[in-house]
């Protein structure tokens, strides 16, 4: 047994290029899975850590149903017997001079000491060199702030330095470490109120309660009390759909990777049939040969898994940032900390590498041990067997397809079922690859012949005759290309839908402030409204509220202004809805309607400041601003409901007939600048949204690239194996007088042929995937309709990728041909 194993291992070294390729293939597959899974985990855990850090030791949070609250309630809280400690907080985003948005936390360090001891003691840390005024500057200097150490480093700031912000420069009186890594600016509550123009108001109060029931009974009306658990759930739900998509991407990575590793392991076995035959003829037992194979595969799986987990770990550091960026722009400002190294990483990597390798080698190995050594000595099995097997595999594929379609048809409301359905569908299609290739052989022959004459025809024959190898390679490549087309088309369609949506809702000539936790003073709105030539000013207020135990958003707008200037995309009905909205009805987003089964004419009951209020649903509109559901109402309705007069942003509409449009806009810009309010034109606003959108899909795009890289290795491995196996054929070709150039062309056309078949199949499969992603996955995860916009671009990009990958994959075999073909003889016959 040892002798056999040793001979195998020596062989690995002799064919080190192929060995290296196989190893790289496994490593890439493992890297993709590990990288994706690790980064998804670290981004999400950074997210929950940041949330936890901000909330400190508090057991509960008290806030108004919508908007900030009057600070006078603190006195009542101090007297409440259930309250052990309380700390008021103002929590907003602040735009820095470099354009970054950073969380600004306004706290009272005295009240905060029970809730956030680490943060609250920072202002008073002993510093020997400080003068009296410096030591209390945090409390007495209106511009004094403490900044998180990472942010200080990024901005190159030290104590005494100044942070430029849209609200003027702030003086750094110290820095502090934030274990969650989130960039943070800490300011005394008095100064925060002044900076933000929020005198007398606070956003929420963090509480430590010892009698939740008693407290809740006293503070039920008009407030939202959330326990630590509920808060975690709310945040969990907030990123739920996002997490699901990350998981799906990780699964996709796993899917493609397993395919590749399987592919690689199978080559390892198939390419050694002849060697196995020789060993068997020399008297090695089946068990010995199988054991040698398993040792080899286990070695590959382990080494590849180790290398892959290392690559994956490095990859995750880059991806984590990308995912963190998405969470920041969509949900919560975050600086993600990559997962620290753990021995679980290589353990998981080896498990994936080893598992998939063994899986891949299982069938060929069983077949090999069963086959007569004399047959295996011929090097490979006959093509007839291949064809028959292709049909059997196709039958299994068809079964898988049917099962997936049934799953999608009957359980499509469940997101996980939908995901499994889509994967099953893809897998089923990939199993059909062999049969399709058999059926397409004549066509392929003609196509390749038109490129390269006789070598082309032979190349087509080679591909089909070696279906055992080429079939899997093509299937894997096809899968990767389909993912590329499917994801590309989905993203493209989504982008087009978003552009359409912005055109319907965001039609203002100028937007003042546009982040949901910024504020525009009401006085400013009145001032702008009074400028002659201004046709209308829409005030936008978006607040998160709880509806049926889930977090949704409520938006307040000026129905009269939107009626005149906006052109909403209605799921049902038309612009006539605005009359009812002006009277106090609400309109809801498609995601709300789908999540809660609401429809026009129905009623949505919202908990208002004075108890529950029934609001009639007038219409349903298309919306991509939040997947959690949006209830939109007139500002008057909103104020009556919540007593919150906050305005987050305003949209200014100039009369279309106004000749002084530019001058009026300049005037508004100047007035906004004087108040430290950011201004953007419609084009800038739309561009910003698209930027956010694009950053959101950065991970998906990197997944596309990863799929291609993995597939590239698959194709190269297949070609190389074919080349190695066909030395005998080369001898015959040489005897027949084929030139080196012709054989090289044949090798190139084999690669091209596989590329063409893969691409042709992937165009179909990718389109189906795109439709599934849009119509099933998006709809189920986000509850919104994305319109399918056919676009040639993903196909062109994918075709170019397929071409480049298959040509690139052929380079090494062609080089080998040039080096070895001239010396080739028919040695065996």
């Amino acid at each position: 047994m040892r002798t056999v194993t040793r001979s195998f291992l020596r062989h690995l070294y002799r064919r080190r290029s192929l060995s290296l390729l196989q190893l790289l293939g496994i490593a890439c597959g493992v890297a993709a899975v590990v990288g994706m899974a690790l980064s998804a985990r670290s981004a999400l855990s950074s997210f929950s850590q940041a949330v936890e850090f901000l909330r400190g030791k508090s057991t509960h949070t008290l806030e108004r149903l919508a908007g900030p609250m009057d600070e006078s309630i603190l006195r009542q809280l101090a007297a409440d017997p259930a309250v052990v400690s309380f700390a008021p907080v103002l929590e907003r985003r602040l735009k820095l001079g470099n354009g970054d948005l950073v969380r600004l936390l306004g706290i009272d360090p005295f009240l905060d000491r029970a809730i956030r001891p680490e943060l609250s003691r920072v202002p008073f840390e002993r510093r020997t060199s400080r003068s009296f005024e410096d030591s209390i500057a945090f409390l007495t200097d209106e511009r004094a702030v403490l900044i998180e150490a990472g942010l200080a480093r990024t901005l190159g700031l030290a104590t005494g330095g100044s942070v430029p912000t849209l609200k003027g420069p702030l003086r750094v009186v110290g820095s502090f470490a934030n274990p969650s890594g989130e960039p943070l600016i800490l300011m005394d509550i008095a100064h925060t109120q002044k900076l933000l123009g929020l005198g007398g108001r606070i956003d929420h109060v963090d509480l430590i309660l010892d009698d939740e029931g008693g407290f809740a009974s006293r503070w039920r009306e008009g407030y939202r009390i959330q326990s630590k658990r509920q808060r975690q759930d709310t945040f969990g739900a907030m990123v739920g759909a996002f997490r699901l998509n990350l998981e799906a991407l990780s699964l996709m990575a796993l899917f493609v990777s397993v395919f590749l590793i399987y592919n690689t392991a199978m080559f390892a076995v198939v390419s050694r049939r002849r060697d196995a035959g020789i060993l068997r003829s020399l008297g090695a037992s089946r068990a010995e040969v199988a054991g040698a194979f398993l040792t080899e595969i286990a070695l590959f799986g382990t080494l590849g898994g180790l290398a892959g987990s290392l690559f994956g770990f490095l990859l995750s550091r880059a991806l984590t940032e990308v995912i963190g960026g998405t969470i920041s722009s969509l949900y919560f400002f975050l600086r993600t900390a990559p997962m620290p190294w753990s021995w679980w990483v290589p353990a998981a990597g080896v498990a994936v590498g080893l598992g998939a390798s063994l899986l891949g080698s299982l069938y060929p190995l069983v077949e090999l041990t069963r086959t007569d050594p004399a047959v295996t000595l011929r090097g490979r099995s006959g093509s007839r067997g291949n064809r028959r097997r292709a049909w059997i595999v196709a039958l299994a594929g068809a079964g898988c397809l049917i099962a997936s379609i049934l799953l999608l048809a009957f359980f499509s409301k469940r997101v996980y079922a939908a995901f499994i359905g889509v994967f099953g569908f893809l897998f089923g299609l990939s199993l059909l690859t062999g049969v399709i290739m058999v059926l397409a052989e004549p066509l392929l022959g003609r196509v390749l012949a038109s490129f390269g004459g006789l070598p082309g025809r032979i190349a087509a024959g080679n591909i089909i005759r070696n279906l055992g190898r080429t079939g899997v390679a093509v299937a894997a490549f096809m899968m990767a290309l389909s993912l590329s087309i499917g994801l590309g088309s989905m993203i493209g369609s989504f982008r087009q839908s978003l552009i359409w949506w912005m055109g319907t809702q965001l039609r203002g000539d100028l937007y003042v402030s546009n982040a949901s936790d910024m504020e525009v003073p009401e006085g400013f709105y009145e001032e702008i409204r009074g400028i002659p030539g201004v046709g209308g000013v829409d005030t936008y207020r978006k607040a998160q509220v709880t509806y049926r135990g889930r977090a949704i958003h409520v938006a307040a707008i000026q129905a009269g202004v939107l009626q005149r200037f906006a052109r909403f995309g209605w799921v049902e009905g038309g612009d006539g809805h605005w009359e009812a909205v002006k009277r106090g009805d609400v309109i809801v987003s498609e995601s709300f309607a789908r999540s809660f089964g609401a429809s026009p004419g129905g009623v949505v009951t919202l908990e208002g400041a004075k108890g529950p209020v029934d609001l009639r649903i007038e219409g349903v509109f298309y919306d991509y601003s939040t997947e959690h559901g949006l209830v939109m109402m007139d500002r008057a309705t909103y104020i009556a409901l919540y007593g919150d007069r906050t305005i987050n942003s305003i949209a200014v509409f100039i009369d279309p007939s106004e000749p002084r449009k530019r001058r009026i806009l300049d005037d508004i810009r100047a007035r906004a600048a004087a108040r430290g309010l950011p201004v953007s034109t419609r084009e800038q606003f739309h561009r910003n949204i698209l930027e956010v959108f694009d950053s959101t899909f950065a991970v998906t795009r990197s997944m596309r690239i990863m799929a291609i890289v993995i597939a590239f290795f698959g194709i190269t491995g297949a070609l190389l194996t074919l080349f190695i196996e066909r030395r005998r054929d080369f001898g015959i070709l040489r005897a027949l007088g084929f030139s080196t150039g012709q054989v090289a062309r044949m090798t190139l056309l084999e690669a091209l042929g596989m590329g063409i078949v893969s691409f042709a199949l992937s165009s179909g499969v990718g389109t189906v995937l795109a439709v599934l992603l849009i119509r099933v996955i998006n709809l189920r995860s986000f509850n919104w309709t994305v319109f399918y916009f056919p676009d040639w671009q993903p196909y062109a990009v994918t075709a170019a990728t397929a071409l480049a990958a298959s040509l690139g994959a052929a380079l090494y075999p062609i080089w080998k041909v040039h080096r070895t073909y001239p010396q080739m003889q028919i040695r065996e016959e």
Partner: protein, 369 residues
Amino acid sequence: MRPWIAALLVTLLSSFPCPEAPAQETWKQAVGPWSWSFPRDHGAHPEFRTEWWYFTGNLRDAAGNRYGYQLTFFRQGVRLRASDPRNPWSLRDLYPAHFAITDARTGAFRYAEQISRAGPGLAGAAKGGLNVWNLGWSAKMEGSLIRIRAQHGGMGLELELVPRKPLVLHGDRGLSRKGPGRGQASYYYSLTDLATKGTIRTPGGGAPVSVEGASWLDREFSSNALTKDQEGWDWFSIRLSDGRELMLYFLRKKDGTVEQESSGTLVEADGRSLGLKTGEIGVEVLATWTSQRSGGRYPGRWRIRVPAAGIDLTIAPLVAEQELITEGSTGVTYWEGAVDGRGASAGSPVTCEGYVEMTGYAGSLGGQF
């Protein structure tokens, strides 16, 4: 938890007057006689930097179980003017507060501390009359009745205090010297005998218990009373069973001697009071107690003699462990506890009870108050 507030207060307390302090900010100093007027002077004196309302008392429930309590409100001025007077958060004063209950039956002693700025009605001291509050703890005088209340975790108290004797001005008509220098003094008066009734809740004791007894209110305001060479002080407030009360304080210097300006006041049963000089008082420490938590070694039993008044008492704590480590508010570690004892007064045997405060045994207080 690290003593961060302590760091702040030490900075605040030790830096005045000092060269880098802004010239325009000067607190009023305790020099010369004060023209007293009540109830006005029960209220805050914001022109002085430091001020306190110090309630201590010895109580009994119906079953005869004994309790002690301390509820103290401090005001510590940071700057004479808030930078933005319209914003209640804008800092002028800090308000620390301490609250402790001693349960002699179980030997339990618990304390709590708070600190807040004025904020929107969170803490403060009204001018013109006794009305101080700090995050739910409060003391307020209505007519001649003082209501005090505090609650923290499982412990709480709600008491009504009625003076049985007129208030007593200590030192020279209320100017109580703490050192030889100008301004090293405080204005100081006490209500030494407050009939007390109400309920207390001891930690772990469950339901509130009705109690009765006597309380003592110490009022003091100053701007820089202690000098740097002073280490701390011992303060005694003792009610004798013959109706007399005795207040004594000794400022201990770092060199081991007692500040000559230390003094005391004897209050007769009819309310008349008599100032006592250092030389007229004899205090002998009979035992010591070492705190496991702070390492401070405190006197644990005393013999107190005032020969001129025929007083000779031996007093001891009800519970040894009555130390407060207040890193979260004033930053001072001190012992403040209920005591009792027996001896003679004017030739007759008496019993006595009261409160003792000892500072500077676990870190010097020099230059802070």
